[in-house]
C-alpha cells in the first residue's frame, strides 16, 4: 500500500481525538488517553520482543504490522528498500481481510509510477517522517487518477496517515505507514513519535539480521576459500611428491649411470700408464694423468651433487646437539688426516642447538672445512666457533683469518658450483656452501657471509625460525 500525499496538503495539529464528533467529558478523555498510552507501551514491548525473536526480519515485521492493528492504527504497512533500490511492500495489515484485498487491488491497478516522489518513496529518500493529520475528500479528488481510482480510495475511507522512515547506521532501509480509516482517529505528533520509536526498533532488527546474513555469507565464503585452498594444497602436495619421486629416480640414475663411464676412463688410463709405460713418453703419461684427474674430479662433483640432493629429501629428526663437542670432533678429524699444520682453533664452551644431528654435522664439516682450507697459507691460522644471542635468536658464528673473499661476490657464495677461487688456488666442488645453506634453510634458519680479500671470512647462521623463541 503506497500512500499518495496530495501536494500542498497542510499537516493538521496533533490531536488524538481532535475530530471526534461527540463531545466528551474531561474525565473520560483523561482515562481514554491513559488507556491508549498503556496500549502503546505494551505494543512497543511486544513488538520489541517479536523483532528480537528471529533473524527472519520479513516475518517479524509482518507480525509487528498485524500487532499494530487495530489498537495503534486501522492500517499498518511496512516497506523495505531492496538492494536494487526498489521499494517493496513487505506487509499490509488490517483487521478485515477484505479491506486488505481492496488495498491490494488499488495497488495493483494503480501502481506508483517509477521515480514518483511521494508518500513512502519520499520518506525512504529523505528519512524524514510525514504526517497527514487530516485527509480531506478534496485531497483524495486531487490525487485520484480517474473516477474508479477515486471510488476505490473512498471505499477505503482513509482519513489520517503517517509515514516514518526505517533508519539504521545512517542508512534508509524502508518505512512504516500507519493509516486511520473507520476508527475516525486523527494522528498527531505523539503518534509520529510512537511510530518513530517502533521504526527505530524495527530498523535495528532489520540491520542486525542483514549484518548477520552478510556475516554468514562471508563466513561461508571464507569456508569455501579454505576448502579451495586445502584442495589446492593437496594437489600441489601430490605434484611435489611426484616431482620428488622423479628427482629421486633421476638422482639414482645419475649415481649409477654417470659414474660408470668415469670408472672406465680412469681405469683404462691407469692400465695404460701401468702396462704400457714403456711405449709412452712423459708427455703421453702426463696426458693420461689429466684424463684420470678429470674423471675423478667429475666423480667428486657427481657425489657432491648427490649429497646435496640427498640433504633435501633426508627426513629430519630434531634433537639437542652439543655443537661445541661436534666442532672439536670435526677439527680433530682434520688434524689427523691432513698434513702437519699450526692452526689455533677456539671453540666456545656450551654451544648447544636443536637440530638434525646428521645434517648439522655436515653443515659444520663444510664451514669448518672451508675455514681449515682457506687458512692454509696463514702461518698463524686461527679458527673460532662462537654463539651469540641476538634478540631471541641464537646465532652461531664460524670465523677464520684465511684468504677471505671479495664481498662484491658474497651473494654468489651459496649457489651450487659457484666458486670465488680458482681450482689452482683452492680445490673444491663448489657445492659446500650450497649444502650449508640448504641445511640451514631446512632448519628454518638463515646464513650470512662476511669477509674481505686476505682478511678472513665469517659465517653466521641460525638453526631455527627467527620468530620462535629458543632460549
Amino acid at each position: 500500500m503506497v500512500l499518495r500525499a496530495p501536494e500542498g496538503e497542510q499537516d493538521g495539529p496533533g490531536t488524538l481525538f481532535g475530530a471526534t464528533p461527540q463531545p466528551v467529558r474531561m474525565y473520560d478523555l483523561q482515562s481514554q488517553i491513559l488507556r491508549q498510552r498503556e496500549t502503546e507501551v505494551s505494543f512497543l514491548a511486544e513488538a520489541s520482543a517479536i523483532l528480537a525473536s528471529s533473524l527472519d526480519y520479513e516475518q517479524t515485521l509482518r507480525t509487528v504490522a498485524e500487532l499494530a492493528v487495530p489498537h495503534i492504527a486501522d492500517w499498518c504497512a511496512v516497506h523495505i528498500l531492496d538492494d536494487d533500490g526498489a521499494v517493496r511492500e513487505l506487509a499490509v495489515a488490517h483487521t478485515d481481510p477484505t479491506k486488505v484485498g481492496l488495498a491490494r487491488e488499488l495497488e495493483r491497478r494503480y501502481p506508483p509510477k517509477p521515480g514518483q516522489d511521494s508518500g513512502v518513496h519520499r520518506v525512504v529518500r529523505t528519512r524524514e517522517p510525514v504526517l497527514h493529520a487530516e485527509i480531506s475528500d478534496e485531497a483524495l479528488v486531487a490525487s485520484a487518477i480517474d473516477q474508479e481510482h477515486l471510488s476505490l480510495m473512498r471505499q477505503l475511507g482513509l482519513c489520517s496517515a503517517l509515514v516514518v522512515p526505517l533508519v539504521a547506521r545512517d542508512c534508509g532501509l524502508g518505512a512504516i505507514t500507519m493509516v486511520s480509516a473507520e476508527s475516525g482517529r486523527r494522528f498527531g505528533e505523539h503518534d509520529v513519535s510512537l511510530a518513530r520509536n517502533l521504526a527505530e526498533r524495527a530498523a535495528l532488527a532489520v540491520d542486525n539480521a542483514r549484518l548477520f546474513t552478510d556475516l554468514a555469507a562471508a563466513e561461508e565464503a571464507v569456508q569455501k576459500l579454505n576448502a579451495d585452498l586445502e584442495l589446492r594444497v593437496r594437489e600441489r602436495t601430490l605434484q611435489l611428491a611426484a616431482a620428488n619421486a622423479e628427482l629421486e629416480a633421476f638422482a639414482y640414475s645419475v649415481s649409477h649411470d654417470l659414474r660408470a663411464p668415469l670408472r672406465s676412463m680412469d681405469g683404462f688410463s691407469k692400465v695404460l700408464t701401468d702396462r704400457y709405460a714403456a711405449t709412452l713418453d712423459d708427455r703421453g703419461k702426463r696426458y693420461l694423468g689429466h684424463i684420470r684427474d678429470a674423471a675423478q674430479e667429475m666423480g667428486q662433483l657427481i657425489d657432491a651433487l648427490l649429497r646435496l640432493a640427498r640433504l633435501s629429501r633426508a627426513e629430519m629428526r630434531c634433537e639437542p646437539i652439543d655443537m661445541g663437542a661436534l666442532a672439536r670432533e670435526i677439527v680433530d678429524g682434520f688434524r689427523r688426516e691432513g698434513t702437519e699444520r699450526r692452526v689455533q682453533v677456539s671453540v666456545d664452551d656450551g654451544i648447544s642447538a636443536m637440530g638434525d644431528r646428521m645434517l648439522v654435522r655436515v653443515l659444520l664439516e663444510n664451514l669448518l672445512g672451508n675455514a681449515w682450507k682457506f687458512t692454509r697459507a696463514q702461518p698463524e691460522a686461527s679458527i673460532t666457533f662462537r654463539v651469540k644471542a641476538d634478540g631471541n635468536e641464537q646465532v652461531y658464528v664460524v670465523s677464520d683469518n684465511g684468504a677471505g673473499f671479495d664481498p662484491q661476490y658474497a651473494h654468489k657464495l651459496f649457489g651450487p658450483f659457484q666458486r670465488l677461487h680458482t681450482a689452482g688456488e683452492f680445490e673444491g666442488t663448489g657445492v659446500g656452501l650450497a649444502t650449508v645453506q640448504r641445511i640451514v634453510h631446512r632448519h628454518g634458519g638463515w646464513v650470512r657471509a662476511e669477509g674481505a680479500v686476505g682478511a678472513g671470512a665469517t659465517f653466521s647462521f641460525t638453526l631455527a625460525p627467527g620468530a620462535e623463541d629458543r632460549t
Binding site: Y252, S255, H256, D257, R259, A260, L262, R263, S264, D266, G267, F268, S269, K270, V271, R292, A295, Q296, M298, G299, R310
Partner: protein, 149 residues
C-alpha cells in the same frame, strides 16, 4: 689361494674387464665366470636354462653382484638366492655404483655379506678388489654343506 670359482655378475663389458684386471693385479688367480644379467646369474647358480647341464650343488665360492642389471636386478637375484636353501648362505658381495641408502638397507635386509661401492679412482677400486679377494677367497670360512643344518 683357494681354487674356488668367482661368479661375476656384470652387464658392462668395460667394468668387467677392469674388474678382471684388478683381480689379476691382485694376484687372485681363481677362475672367474662372468654372467651379463640377473636372469643368467640365477640360471647359472640354480643350474637351469642354458646352465641345465651344470650340477646345482656346484656353487661358486663367491658372487660379485652388480645392482643395476638387465632383466632381473641385483636385489632380486639376492632375494631369490636367500630364499633357496641351496644358496641361502652363499657369500654374495654387492659391487655397485650406488651408495643410495635404500640400496644398502635392502641389501642388508636380504643378508648380503658385504657391500662395496665401486670408486671412480681405479687405484681405490684395485685396492678394494684386492681386499675382498683376500678376505672372501682366503680368510673367510664357509660351511662345507650349505643348506644342511
Amino acid at each position: 689361494m683357494s681354487d674356488g670359482l668367482i661368479l661375476l655378475v656384470e652387464d658392462n663389458p668395460r667394468d668387467e674387464e677392469l674388474a678382471l684386471i684388478a683381480l689379476e693385479d691382485s694376484h687372485i688367480v681363481n677362475q672367474v665366470h662372468v654372467v651379463r644379467d640377473g636372469q643368467e646369474a640365477l640360471d647359472y647358480l640354480f643350474g637351469i636354462g642354458r646352465y641345465a647341464q651344470r650340477g646345482p650343488t656346484d656353487l661358486p665360492h663367491l658372487v660379485l653382484l652388480d645392482l643395476k642389471l638387465p632383466k632381473v636386478d641385483g636385489l632380486e637375484v639376492l632375494e631369490r638366492l636367500r630364499d633357496d636353501p641351496r644358496t641361502a648362505w652363499l657369500p654374495v658381495v654387492i659391487l655397485t655404483s650406488s651408495d643410495e641408502e635404500s640400496d644398502l638397507v635392502r641389501s642388508y635386509q636380504l643378508r648380503v655379506n658385504s657391500y662395496i661401492r665401486k670408486p671412480v679412482d681405479f687405484d681405490q677400486f684395485g685396492a678394494a678388489v684386492r681386499h675382498l679377494g683376500l678376505y672372501w677367497m682366503v680368510l673367510n670360512r664357509v660351511p662345507s654343506h650349505p643348506g644342511r643344518g
